[in-house]
Amino acid sequence: MIHYLSGDDLPCHADLVSQMFRDRATQFRGRLGWDVTVDAAGQERDVYDDEGPLYVICEDAGHHAASMRFLPTTGRTMVNDHFADLTGGPVVSPLIWECTRFCLAPDAPRHVTAALLLGALDLGLRSGLTDAVGVFDMAMIRVYRRLGWPPTLIGERGGIGVGLWAFDGRFRAGLERRAKANCATA
């Protein structure tokens, strides 16, 4: 099941949200070795978590399975703060959101990646967005391509890529098929 959580929704799903922050620590510090801050409770948070983001979370069997974080580019974003050299200057539009911290739980079933991307696509389509600008681990590009919603790469540095996802309804059917097909075999 896909949750769209922001603001007051977060305390109502405190357990799911703290699992997400713990899985982020496992993925970004543990598996990828990124220089991120992990607190005493084993949760990875950064300053952008204080900017009132919207989290898209895929819950599977009562647990956090996958998630990502959205912020409007009209406010403070990681891309504009740290990757403006790759984008050629700040990208600012209420029709473009930033997507960061794409995270998979260590034991996540395969289909959740497609389910999460489908949830993100639906959010963008429903919210009238044109694009998401994302920061991601370069190794994930193959995964996004295989699932049929590849980002357009703008640039990369040290294995971290910045790219664009178009919120285009024609990607929907493919993601939906993969979110379901893999579910049956997972």
Partner: protein
């Protein structure tokens, strides 16, 4: 509608005070073809500011009874940034149901769609359209107009901040070098494909540069953005 929205932005640019903003919001009601348009801003100190088409009686009552405290639209949108159909908000409380009935009786409409706007220094605003269409018609209407509503919402907010704080406080955002390159080539008559090729970027990336430039320039479309950038001397051709 695009032509009318472009003209609207010109009129909006000329607004100098709350009366001018209110006149602009009334024009928007006709352009968007809805029963009401509401712009409502709250700054970090709790000061409120509004330009809207609701009846004076309803506005007075709303303020007198401090309905912002219980209004699910204000409460639900305060901490989010994605636009929301009123049907997705929580109207289940007794006070909220009574409030909704009263709002409908005052002609607000049974349908609503609100765009939250987060401004500088904790400023928060809501841009709302409301109407009496059927659920089905309303869903089709908001789907067709969501992008225009979001852009107009942000441009109205920009103007409201300007009026409240003076133009210096809200300087036009500078275009990035890449955005200037993209607009310059489009202004010179290059197709998007040709412009992307000569900048050695994908058409998708070019489109995003143009989208970002359009917002910074307060424009409704690419042609309008190019015209604004030219007239303000940002493009040298």
């Amino acid at each position: 509608m695009q032509g009318r929205l472009e003209r609207f932005l010109q009129d909006l640019g000329a607004a100098r005070d709350l009366d001018g903003l209110t006149a602009a919001v009334r024009t928007l009601r006709d352009i968007f073809g809805v029963d009401h348009v509401v712009y409502h801003s709250v700054n970090a100190a709790g000061g409120q500011y509004a330009a809207l088409t609701y009846s004076d009686e309803w506005v007075r009552r709303y303020i007198d009874l401090d309905y912002a405290r219980i209004d699910p639209v204000v409460q639900g949108c305060f901490k989010r940034f994605n636009p929301v159909d009123w049907k997705r908000l929580d109207w289940s409380g007794k006070a909220q149901r009574a409030f909704l009935a009263e709002a409908i009786a005052h002609g607000v409409g049974r349908q609503g769609f609100s765009v939250p706007i987060r401004g500088p220094n904790g400023q928060f605003a809501l841009f709302t359209v409301s109407d009496n269409r059927s659920d089905e018609d309303w869903a089709a209407y908001t789907e067709a107009h969501v992008r225009d509503l979001i852009l107009v919402a942000h441009y109205v907010n920009q103007k409201a901040l300007e009026i409240e704080r003076g133009t210096d406080a809200v300087a036009m955002r500078a275009l990035s070098p890449r955005e200037i390159d993209a607009l310059t080539l489009i202004a010179m008559g290059y197709s998007r494909g040709q412009a992307a090729e000569s900048l050695s970027i994908s058409e998708h990336t070019l489109r995003v540069y143009i989208e970002s430039a359009r917002f910074k320039l307060g424009a409704m479309n690419t042609t309008h953005a190019v015209a604004r950038a030219m007239s303000s001397g940002m493009l040298v051709i």
